[in-house]
């Protein structure tokens, strides 16, 4: 009986997200832009850079920008002007405080999230089934400074054969990696390793992962309205007021509650009547 009750109570709580880094690194700012390099022709992937950016933004808006409990917004950074061919041919290397990458043979370090079409089949795409590859290219302390998403643009890429909806979920999955999430073992999660054509929305597991990486801080959140406040525009009296009011009221209620409980449960004896 107890086993049955236990199963009823604790069955199917699907949250098993994992992270890209052992320090739980995420972007330090609350707005992260996505750009596509200007030299990405994406010939084999069968997509223009403008189309790639639009699909990536559609994916970001459809999935990651919808999480009310997470304080992060992915924005459109436009075309990233560069003539550096290493974006298109070199391997993706993740650099942090302890690991340095060889800048002459690696994809360049960037800020925010940058997408490029890459045809390196030696290091990045040894298999045509690999659709894309993502890594934070620069981590400083607990902050991701920049991430790169590489689309498989090799001659045998499968990316070109995907439907627009599939491309959208693939890019959204890669944006999840760029933001700091690892794979999930839940087969219905966006961060599951397999691409699904029926990925309509985030799973609770994805939401929990993003909330963990980008929790809404008490001094920064925009209560009730769920929007993002830019760091340059610090919270004002109005945004602090509802939180402070509720915490204050709650604390006061409990103080008064226990005060009443204490004073009413202890009967203070009256002094004896002298008459």
């Amino acid at each position: 009986m107890y086993k049955v009750l236990f199963l009823i109570l604790f069955i199917n709580h699907a949250h098993g997200f994992r992270l890209n880094t052992n320090i739980g690194a995420g972007f330090g700012s609350r707005k992260v832009s996505i750009s596509v390099t200007s030299n990405s022709t994406c010939t084999n992937a069968g997509i223009s850079k403008e189309e790639l950016l639009n699909i990536a933004m559609d994916g970001a808006k459809k999935y990651w920008n919808k999480v009310a409990t997470a304080d992060i917004e992915v924005t459109n950074g436009g075309i990233y002007q560069t003539s550096d061919s290493k974006f298109l041919t070199e391997k993706l290397c993740a650099e942090d405080d302890t690991t340095a990458c060889d800048s002459s043979t690696s994809v360049p370090v960037v800020s925010n999230i940058v997408i490029a079409c890459n045809n390196n089949t030696t290091d990045n795409f040894p298999n045509s089934q690999y659709l894309a590859l993502t890594a934070p290219v620069k981590i400083s302390g607990r902050n991701i400074k920049g991430s790169v998403i590489l689309i498989n643009d090799s001659a045998s890429t499968s990316f070109a054969s995907l439907s627009t909806a599939e491309k959208e979920s693939v890019l959204a999955h890669e944006i999840g990696h760029a933001l700091g999430l690892g794979h999930s073992n839940k087969d219905h999660a966006l961060m599951y390793y397999l691409n699904s054509s029926k990925m309509e929305r985030l799973s609770q597991d994805d939401i929990d992962g993003l909330t963990y990486l980008y929790p809404t801080a008490i001094e920064n959140c925009s209560p009730l309205f769920g929007g993002i406040i830019d760091k340059k525009d610090p919270p004002s009296f109005n945004t602090n007021f509802p939180k402070a009011f509720m915490i204050g009221l709650s604390v006061c209620f409990f103080i008064l509650f226990f005060y009443k409980l204490f004073t009413q449960s202890i009967k203070i004896p009256r002094p004896l009547d002298p008459n």
């Binding site: 219905h188 990925m199 609770q204 009730l224 309205f225 709650s250 006061c252």
Partner: protein, 199 residues
Amino acid sequence: MKTAILILLLVCLSSKVTAFDIKSPETIGFNFGTWLENYAQVQDDTNGGVNDHFELTPYFGINAVYSLPYQLEFVHETGYVIQRTSEEISKNLFFFKFDLAYRATEWVRLRAGTSFMMLMISADGGEDTLRNGSGTETYYIPEERRTSYNQTLDFGAEFLYEKISFKLQNYIYAFTNSDQRMTTYSLSVNYNVPFEELF
């Protein structure tokens, strides 16, 4: 932060000299129910299905009801959604709720208000090897507790029968932002005791 502390102090002081100090709550309620997080709004299977099935995620709370004029009541509730642990990750949710209630009939109480949510997600760290393409990759389990604070707009109805009541409540996150708006529901059974009987 200074402003927040100042407001907190002001609220404390103001409540001390107004109704709260001179009036006891009419009833104290003990709640037990289920918490339906983002019900029917998140993907729950590989075919695009959503989490629209009933799932028992237990929560409990305590509330105090204060009578106001014109069949109105003020309800303060504090609750805890029992820790949910899966794949080494734990979620804890505390909420502080403030409702204005209208006693439509002797057995119906309609409620509207707001909640302050503290969602804590934590784990003890470690590594996990998961599939990645045709091979595997090492990913990391969170190694600390992080808390997300949110405010919700709430509506609910409570059906009372003697000391027992049943309550259906919703909690709307990001009410004014149509992109982010999500709704969580709770269903609970409450045992309400007059304050004088309790002490």
